[in-house]
Symmetry: C2
Subunit: 486 residues, 2 copies
């Protein structure tokens, strides 16, 4: 008898157990690391299985930025952030179906979570880097990482910068964050097994998860878990079948993030009775805000229409692009703000002209489309306002300094990175919720294998997934360790 | 031991069977009726369980319109429809993830399916009613029921009218269709049980579906099925939890269609190992195309922008409305085309003016937004073209005959009916596909409990769900009857 991720093994089909532990954690990204750490700190015996050759997962590919509120770093930088403001912002982040309990708990415990991260040795210089950036290349550790100052978020929640990045020079602080978490995990005595791919869960007669089968050295290793299994395997950005079935819009995009995000954790959870929700949702972004003056440009779709306030989070703008008809959008800039985009090879200059009418013609658009959009935008920008799309005055510039250019962001040709946001439903303790709403006994999950705090790409902010991974990873680890051994 | 839709009962927990049959069909809409009929015609003993007090389901609430191609009705009306044109159209209907096999089979067998429907006694007068209508109030039986003549469909598939409606005077031919199908079902000797709510499936050791528990007179009736269970229970438009988890956009809309569409069939299928796909997708429409001259108006969103060619299918236009920012859109009309909308109580006149600038002001929009949109539209309409949104010349009218009006379609206040389009994955035989891709033995499904031919509201056409229900309902019934008894 052989199980698959979607098809758990029954305990009676396990002839012998190769390994016994209290808690098995699957996946060594930030969620798995934090779950393992907290389970170990709670006194549990913990084994951690990672399919790759080392720790990291998608977390190591990130900027190492965690979305936090109410910290002394914010206060030192002159920002008074409140639990209520954070909760309000997170509620908007939840889209049409926010998990209000998770928003509440995360807002309340966010300062303590920051303390815990520092206690693990994650360095925070505590300095604020102003401006609109994707991730700091300096060793500063507080940035604006979302749409806090932009419409409509600024109206619903008092803005504060909440992107707390690890102190690190250069891009890619996520690897450094993972190195620290890995060191703590190893110090805590967690039995770490790399190149160990989870194959299926094991359920007993009561449909309780009591073990997991892991493939090591091409042999199945049957792991008996006395207290629980924590799934921390990431999303399904690398699983073409699942993408087609649940989030087919992503199939147009070039660059999934997360080498091992093959959906197997969601499959195991669903196979054990878990509920997968919001499976159509995904994050995407194209690095169009570098150099930052480009944010003073305006985006138009193939009908020459604006569609979003360009000063909100770059991922929110990118996600809105994908809702436009056609296959591309254009960023319109004048000479004063023009700069070669970060990914100039993939964000091409589609048209240049001495007038906006010339740009319009060169793009093959009819008269009175794009040019009219710019003229109307300019008229109001000159008054310091954007009555149609609500771009904040700080980013408004009359685009009248020719020559003018249209930069093309093409959904298939430009670099749109993405990862999935749908996944297992969990409660605030990290218990996987069954389709009937009750927890699946013995099964826990955190990070992108779940549908967590950030629920749509439209409302995403940088640092929210690592917030989800680290905070609810800890919760899941503690909850897994807490039950009586069976 | 008691099962739930999501939690099947194990055969060993059934102490005695109350009823034995070859095939159990769950749900007495068009899909269930056709499945029962074909199973019975194939020689199987069939029991049909319906939770309501009579036949009908959402099918009886429809216009009784079936999307068909290659029929003599089309030829008599002067339309040469081809298998290829129908297949191409259906492929577009499938959105980002069309089921190419189903498109192929349906296109090939559509003429035969029409013959079968007539053999069952469904009357077709065979006359064509031209124009743009929701459903015929005359007894004509062929109409344009989708986006065939509109951009971009007309470019990809040779247009033909394919809405084959039952010969019936007035709206609501779906009830008449169901009465006929019910009569055939009863003549075929199907054991019909009304007020019989399916509670859970029964699985044997091999995870084969071998029965179903049905609640009748408030007692569980254990039904042993020798050959198979066909789920034909409809979508989940009445299940608020499932809507929130999978299709939260629908929660803004007022009017789900299908009293008993509570998602229980999807739950049973998933509980037995089935794969639920495209769960975020839904059909919606607001009856804005009556009187038809309104189609010559143009829709703008809250930024005063057009967003769709208004001459495509009313449901496609309505679904596009829901993608606009804000809570409403406006239909702009001049005096020449103005008419009180069908649902005038819920589609209100939001502004009237002697000029478009006055309408713009009255709606609280900034200068050079809505009025500019109309002027640009008018400029090109005068030339008989719509270069930005590709409305066909027949529906283009310069909107210059004041006074002018903006009709408000409000997502929460206007009548937006909807039903869900996500559901169980099935193959062309109607077998429910498990999450690993292989059929779940003994389990079949058809209609809105599945993700079938129509996969998104953006590409829907009237008659596609009844096509799915009747055609793949027949397939499912035949497949269920075909297996060896167990």
């Amino acid at each position: 008898m052989r199980g698959t991720p979607y098809r758990p093994l029954h305990a009676t089909d396990v002839t012998s157990w190769d390994l016994t532990t209290d808690v098995a954690v699957v996946g060594f990204g930030a969620a798995g690391a934090c779950a393992a750490l907290e389970a170990a700190h709670a006194g549990a015996e913990v084994a951690l299985f990672e399919s790759g050759a080392g720790s990291g997962g998608a977390s190591a590919l990130s900027g190492g930025e965690i979305y936090l509120g109410g910290t002394e770093v914010q206060r030192n930088a002159g920002f008074e952030d409140t639990t209520e403001a954070l909760r309000s912002y997170l509620t908007m982040v939840g889209g049409d179906d926010p998990d209000l309990e998770k928003c509440e708990v995360y807002a309340n415990e966010s300062p303590d979570h920051f303390t815990w991260l520092k206690e693990q040795g994650v360095p925070y210089k505590g300095t604020f880097l102003p401006g609109k950036i994707i991730e700091p290349e300096t060793d500063d550790t507080l940035i604006w990482s979302g749409s806090e100052q932009a419409w409509p978020f600024a109206e619903a929640a008092t803005p504060a910068p909440r992107g707390h990045t690890i102190q690190y020079v250069g891009v890619g602080g996520g690897r450094a964050l993972m190195d620290i978490l890995e060191a703590r995990v190893r110090e805590a005595g967690v039995d770490v097994r790399l190149n160990a791919r989870a194959q299926c869960l094991v359920l007993d007669d009561d449909e309780r998860v009591i073990g997991i089968v892991v493939r090591i050295d091409n042999r199945p290793v049957h792991v008996r878990t006395r207290r629980g299994v924590v799934l921390a395997t990431g999303g399904f950005g690398m699983n073409r079948d699942m993408l087609a079935q649940h989030a087919p819009k992503t199939l147009r995009l070039s660059t999934p993030i997360g080498e091992n995000d093959n959906g197997s954790g969601i499959q195991m959870g669903v196979g054990a009775g878990g509920n997968a929700v919001h499976m159509d949702e995904f994050f995407t972004t194209c690095p169009w805000i570098v150099p930052p003056d480009l944010v003073k440009g305006i985006f138009v779709n193939e009908a020459g229409q604006r569609f979003v306030n360009e000063d909100c989070y770059h991922g929110r703008v990118s996600r809105a692009m994908l809702d436009q008809p056609g296959s591309k959008v254009w960023l319109l800039v004048d000479d004063a703000i023009f700069g070669r985009p970060l990914d100039a090879a993939r964000i091409s200059v589609a048209a240049v002209g001495e007038t906006w009418e010339e740009v319009e013609r060169e793009l093959g658009l009819p008269e009175e489309s794009l040019a009219r959009t710019v003229h109307t935008f300019n008229r109001y920008a000159a008054e310091g306002r954007d009555p149609l799309h609500h771009k904040a005055p700080a980013w408004l510039k009359v685009l009248d300094d020719g020559p003018f250019a249209a930069l093309e962001l093409n959904f298939t040709k430009s670099t749109f990175t993405y990862f999935t946001l749908g996944g297992l439903a969990t409660n605030v303790s990290g218990e996987v919720l069954g389709r009937d709403g009750a927890p699946v006994p013995g099964l826990f999950a955190a990070g992108r294998v779940t549908s967590g705090l950030p629920r749509t790409g439209h409302t995403y902010s940088s640092g929210l997934s690592l917030a989800d991974c680290t905070f609810f990873g800890r919760k899941a680890g503690r909850a897994a360790a807490a039950g009586p051994p069976r």
